[in-house]
């Protein structure tokens, strides 16, 4: 069965690795895009072409190559801004990844270099995250409260894998400085109710940040419509290269925030005893940035825009519906996360009774060439919440097919036979 909303066979031809045979003649069944996505020829070629013919440093070299590189790098920023509906291109900051974007924002709080009251933080102040966060949206906040004496609080998760909003008014209060949650869970697939959390945060004057690493690659995301304050995402999960991520932030907040890293190109003027800083976004881009990676991410955005994020979302929705049905047929499989299509994306994590996920993943890979992720997926507290050490996770993208989900189900039956 092929999707009605997008030509998967044509798309698959854009991704060279998908036609690769693994040792032993196994075809590759790549169901690990939530971990990192594969790259289309369009991205690979754009990066190769830039490295081969146009490469130089950006923002400082006064020659043809310097201006071509700068032009390509800054035009990647334009593309990213348009892709996520940023009101201004200057609100798009290139980072190394989503983790760096989250750390950058965390660093702005309780920082003596930042006297803006929205960012002051000390004992008695609170930060709110959730139990379903990736470690990258937990650890930077833990480090922040250790530095400042503030308190870290979190939303629980319901048995169905939803954010538990029952205690919202008690959790998010006048003491809350920022609420930072995942837009979509990297384990459960749950899409979180941003508007509800945001409404409460606005009532009490708290800022809101979204870790959108799992939503921007898979859904049309518009930061202006979301109306939050900060959004972090990463390039390698959205058919772009690794080493490049994005922080979008409201311009007036970014202007109020101190620089995160000091170095070249983030300054206006430097004396021996002090410096003044470049305007945003460059204030936050110290040193030579990942130039070709940013340009590659620009090409990734062109690629996704060409296909249409609505079509990508619809395709993944079909795959998810198909997979939810198919996995129900596997005996003793327990899905961790929403069982319906309602507010969920194409990430399915599960356990098989009596079989450790590492064994599941190993046999799926070695016998069938099926790549899934096994373990705690950098979300250990969420696994502790469900009382399990690990899960097996299949995650879909625009190039996956229902035939690959059939292969997964066949593989799981085989795993159960081995351990029967």
């Amino acid at each position: 069965m092929t999707s009605t909303s997008l030509d998967v066979e044509r798309i698959r031809k854009d991704f060279p690795v998908l036609s690769r045979e693994l040792p032993g003649g196994r075809p590759l069944v790549y169901l690990d895009s939530g971990n990192s996505s594969q790259k289309p020829t369009q991205v690979i070629e754009t990066m190769r072409e830039h490295l081969a013919m146009h490469y130089s440093n950006v923002g400082r070299a006064m020659h043809v190559l310097g201006s071509e590189s700068t032009e390509a790098y800054e035009s990647a920023r334009d593309k990213l801004a348009a892709f996520v509906g940023a009101p201004s291109r200057d609100e798009v900051i290139f980072t190394k990844n989503a983790s760096e974007a989250l750390n950058l924002v965390a660093y702005s709080f309780g920082n003596r270099a930042n006297t803006d009251p929205r960012f002051t933080l000390g004992p008695g102040d609170e930060i709110v995250i959730s139990e379903m966060e990736h470690h990258s949206n937990i650890v930077p906040w833990q480090m922040l409260v250790q530095r400042t004496g503030a308190t870290l609080k979190w939303f629980g998760v319901t048995d169905e894998g939803r954010l538990d909003l029952s205690g919202l008014p008690e959790l998010v209060t006048e003491r809350t400085k920022i609420v930072s949650i995942a837009h979509q869970s990297n384990v459960l697939g749950t899409v979180n109710p941003v508007a509800e959390v945001l409404a409460r945060a606005r009532e009490v004057g708290a800022l809101v940040m979204l870790d959108a690493s799992q939503s921007v690659p898979h859904h049309p995301v518009n930061v202006a419509e979301l109306d939050v304050d900060f959004v972090a995402f990463t390039g390698h999960k959205m058919v772009g290269p690794s080493g490049i991520g994005v922080l979008w932030g409201r311009g007036e907040l970014l202007e109020a925030m101190p620089p995160f890293l000091g170095g070249g190109e983030m300054i206006e003027a430097v004396w021996m005893d002090h410096s003044t800083y470049a305007p945003v976004p460059h204030k936050f881009e110290a040193g030579t940035p990942p130039i070709v990676e940013a340009i590659g991410l620009g090409a990734a955005v062109d690629y996704l825009t060409g296909i249409g994020m609505d079509a990508v979302e619809a395709h993944e929705r079909e795959l998810t519906a198909y997979a939810l049905d198919a996995l129900r047929e596997v005996p003793s499989l327990h899905l961790i996360g929403p069982d319906s299509l309602d507010l969920r994306g194409g990430t399915l994590s599960f356990t098989l009774a009596g079989i450790h996920p590492h064994d599941v993943g190993q046999i799926l890979d070695d016998r069938f060439g099926i790549a899934v992720r096994v373990g705690h997926h950098c979300a250990r507290p969420l696994h502790l919440r469900f009382g399990i050490p690990a899960t097996t996770r299949a995650s879909f993208y625009l190039y996956n097919t229902t035939a690959e989900i059939d292969a997964l189900v066949r593989g799981l039956h085989h795993v159960q036979k081995v351990f029967a």
């Binding site: 079989i355 450790h356 590492h358 190993q362 250990r380 696994h383 050490p389």
Partner: protein, 146 residues
């Protein structure tokens, strides 16, 4: 297929029917080891007997088939042997596991543990196989010190 060779019948047998599992009293030393990359963990106790012999190795834990079967085989090979003999088995098993599949196992020393030879080709899984064995080594050192 590569993976099937890792899951030797003997390993699956030990996984499904672990030998000596469960923590028992009395004991001379108890250790708790974890594999942070995958969350596998084991609690292991050693009871020394007369004449430098290991009277009992009892354990409990959670993890994949490789880590659980390795603990079961460890129990079989060490219980009743001398400390010295058992540590030479540990040394040989460690050499095999860290040999990236290039090391010829000494079957006379390793007995059933040779079944794990295939695991050595999977760097990500070597730690699973070694978890209980490193815990045992640690427990022996501690009981000697105590």
């Amino acid at each position: 297929m590569i993976g099937e060779s890792m899951y030797q019948e003997l390993i699956l047998e030990h996984y499904k029917h672990p030998q000596g599992r469960g923590l028992r009293e009395p004991y001379d030393a108890e250790v708790h080891h974890v594999n942070p990359t995958c969350g596998d963990e084991i609690t292991l106790r050693v009871k020394m007997g007369d004449a430098g012999k290991i009277e009992d190795v009892s354990y409990d834990g959670q993890g994949c088939s490789i880590s659980q079967a390795a603990a079961s085989v460890l129990h079989e090979l060490t219980t009743g042997s001398t400390v010295e003999e058992s540590l030479s088995v540990v040394a040989e098993f460690t050499r095999l596991m860290q040999g990236r599949g290039q090391v010829e196992a000494d079957e006379d020393v390793l007995g059933d543990a040779v079944a794990f030879a295939g695991v050595a080709k999977f760097p990500a899984r070597v730690k699973c196989a070694l978890l209980s064995w490193m815990a045992y080594k640690d427990a022996v050192v501690r009981s000697a010190a105590g």
